[in-house]
């Protein structure tokens, strides 16, 4: 394993796989089961009552089961069951290609992140060097995915405020990005785009879209600046869902002032060559998370266009019967995403994944205590949580 060491607790905390606690550079075996995602009020107040929110509710994109403890005004406790829609993925004793079809369907909205993190772990096990064109090609599609994902979060934050015009304008841009993804890869969510040492994307065609990308970047910045000038909107976000301490990763960590970004602290993708520096802010509330995502959208447009110059499709014919162990991590739009694989004769013997949504859910419930329910949706959406990637079991 080139990037990870066993029994090392080095750097910040990334999350949990089935058996390991993951840190920036190491993984430690965990013997206890994962702790429950809940905060229960310490004092048993007779004025507290519970209400059920979810698992099926029009207010959330995915099914998620909340039990909210409140005194009628503020949220005093939350119990979350993120496993209500848990899926099992039959990956063990499957080939890399077979497993990849499942991995890219763990979180469809972040499918490029999942497939590239998984393939990077496999490539680590294979101990192969990746072609430069593939590295940059991966950056191109990861940044397109990040733009779309952040746009969705911002759009979802406009909705509870009743800000219909910016919400629809952001949806419009989101759809343009999705269509560009579809044109260059054949699929709107990058399914079947990533291979070992290869990105199946028409980079020449994407080059012809550069002017469009520059134009929609400008359009986005106009909408974003308009929202920043809107006091009614900003008031709903400032001070809502404040969290400034662990466990924080991804945009939530950067909003709270932590310089945590796998793009700058790992070597599996050459972000440093593109002079990448994480954007940091000092407000750990919903506004901070909104603001960071807005700035990162502009940054991702630039990274995507710069990386495109060196992106290429390459070919690598690997043998089917290799064995080895590998691990890799990358910065998905919601934070650090980690994969570990153990391969025997070309078949998956073990696969473990740590998703950013698990830690983001943990941070969300911590941040929601003492907020009022009308602020719940702004706060929840600001974390960019995808339930689909939390409850996955590999068998």
């Amino acid at each position: 394993m080139r990037y990870y060491k066993f029994n090392v607790r080095d750097g910040y905390y990334i999350g949990e796989t089935r058996q390991f606690s993951i840190y920036e550079k190491g993984m430690i075996r965990r013997d206890e089961p994962l702790e429950r995602l809940q905060i229960i009020p310490k004092i048993n107040d007779k004025n507290h009552f519970n209400f059920q929110y979810g698992p099926a509710t029009g207010g959330l994109i995915e099914s998620l089961d909340f039990k909210i403890i409140t005194n009628g005004e503020a949220i005093k406790g939350i119990v979350v069951n993120p496993y209500v829609k848990s899926r099992t993925m039959r990956c063990l004793n499957k080939t890399i290609d077979e497993c990849l079809l499942l991995v890219e369907r763990i979180n469809g909205y972040h499918s490029a992140s999942h497939s590239i993190a998984f393939l990077s772990a496999v490539e680590d096990a294979l101990n192969i060097d990746i072609a430069e064109g593939t590295y940059y090609g991966r950056i191109v599609i990861l940044e397109l995915e990040r733009i779309r994902s952040h746009l969705l979060v911002l759009k979802r934050m406009c909705e509870p405020a009743g800000f219909g015009v910016p919400m629809y304008q952001l949806s419009y841009i989101n759809e343009i990005i999705t269509r560009i993804i579809s044109d260059i890869s054949g699929h709107r969510y990058f399914y079947s785009t990533n291979k070992l040492n290869r990105v199946d994307v028409d980079f020449g065609l994407l080059s012809s879209y550069i002017q469009t990308l520059i134009k929609i970047k400008r359009e986005f910045e106009n909408i974003f600046n308009g929202l920043l000038e809107s006091k009614i909107f900003i008031n709903r976000l400032q001070g809502n869902g404040l969290i400034k301490d662990d466990p924080l990763i991804g945009p939530a960590a950067r909003a709270a002032g932590f310089k945590r970004d796998a793009r700058s602290n790992i070597s599996i993708l050459p972000y440093k060559e593109l002079n990448f520096e994480p954007i940091i802010f000092n407000e750990g509330d919903s506004f901070g998370r909104f603001y960071i995502r807005g700035l990162e959208i502009s940054q991702s447009f630039d990274l995507c266009i710069n990386a495109l110059e060196r992106a290429e499709q390459s070919e690598y014919n690997y043998s089917n019967n290799f064995s080895g162990e590998g691990a890799a991590r990358l910065e998905s739009p919601s934070g650090d995403l980690f994969y570990y694989v153990n391969i025997d004769n070309g078949l998956i013997k073990d696969i473990q994944m740590s998703s950013p949504s698990y830690l983001n859910l943990k941070s969300f419930i911590k941040s929601a205590i003492n907020t009022i329910f009308t602020d719940f949706h702004f706060n929840f959406e600001s974390f960019g949580i995808w339930v689909s990637e939390v409850g996955v079991e590999f068998i």
């Binding site: 029009g58 994109i61 099914s63 099992t88 469809g108 304008q169 759809e175 709107r188 809107s230």
Partner: protein
């Protein structure tokens, strides 16, 4: 302030496209209608005795040496038209076990390019107001009873749509949703907004 957004919105003009009266402006290649015949060993068994089965296909492109994606977005089957909903159709969504992409595509039919509202298609936050229950994702233990209870709480007349390969055929991930007979099937992994919009318009007995 809201005035300022109103003006910004008006300045943009109409962004909605001519679909479905006009052909789709940007149809994805995958998913789309697949033609040809092949004895390729499909990873999810969607090529049975050389015949393509859209219920199982995950549009992975692995058979592309012999099969051909046409770009045609008519990937749905209506079992029962619901003329009672000609004027308006309120949708309640249940995610039984999705990857999130089906959910995103269903929301996308309300983006300005597609604007499902102009056909009287709306989302509702409560099954008590819903005309159609849209089911997505594979069958999961945690959501099994929720589907049935939700359906029971909907007023008559009502109908069921199963959307996406997971719900219809399992997608090689798990089991398809076994309960509730569907009035319409919308194929794709995920189905594109074009497919979803046209299927819902036909389901409500409306003319595109």
């Amino acid at each position: 302030m809201s005035n300022q957004w109103f003006i910004k919105g008006v300045k943009k003009g109409i962004l909605t496209e001519g679909f479905p009266q006009l052909p789709p402006e940007k149809p994805p290649l995958r998913p789309s209608l697949l033609i040809g015949s092949s004895n390729f060993k499909c990873p999810v068994g969607a090529l049975d005795e050389n015949k393509w089965n859209p219920e199982k296909c995950i549009f992975c492109d692995k058979c592309s040496m012999e099969m051909h994606f046409t770009g045609d977005q008519k990937l749905f089957k209506i079992n029962r038209k619901m003329n009672a909903f000609k004027r308006s159709l309120y949708i309640y969504i249940i995610d039984s076990g999705t990857c999130g992409a089906c959910n995103a595509e269903l929301f996308n039919i309300f983006s300005p390019q597609y604007d499902a509202n102009r056909y009287g298609i709306f989302l509702t936050n409560t099954p008590r107001n819903a005309d159609v229950l849209v089911l997505m994702g594979v069958e999961t233990e945690g959501m099994k009873s929720v589907l049935e209870e939700t359906y029971e709480s909907m007023p008559e007349p009502k109908c069921v749509v199963k959307m996406g390969t997971c719900a219809i055929g399992g997608a090689g991930i798990g089991s398809k949703i076994s309960s509730l007979e569907p009035d319409a099937l919308i194929y794709g992994c995920p189905p594109s907004p074009y497919t979803i919009l046209e299927a819902l318009i036909e389901l409500k007995g409306d003319k595109p």
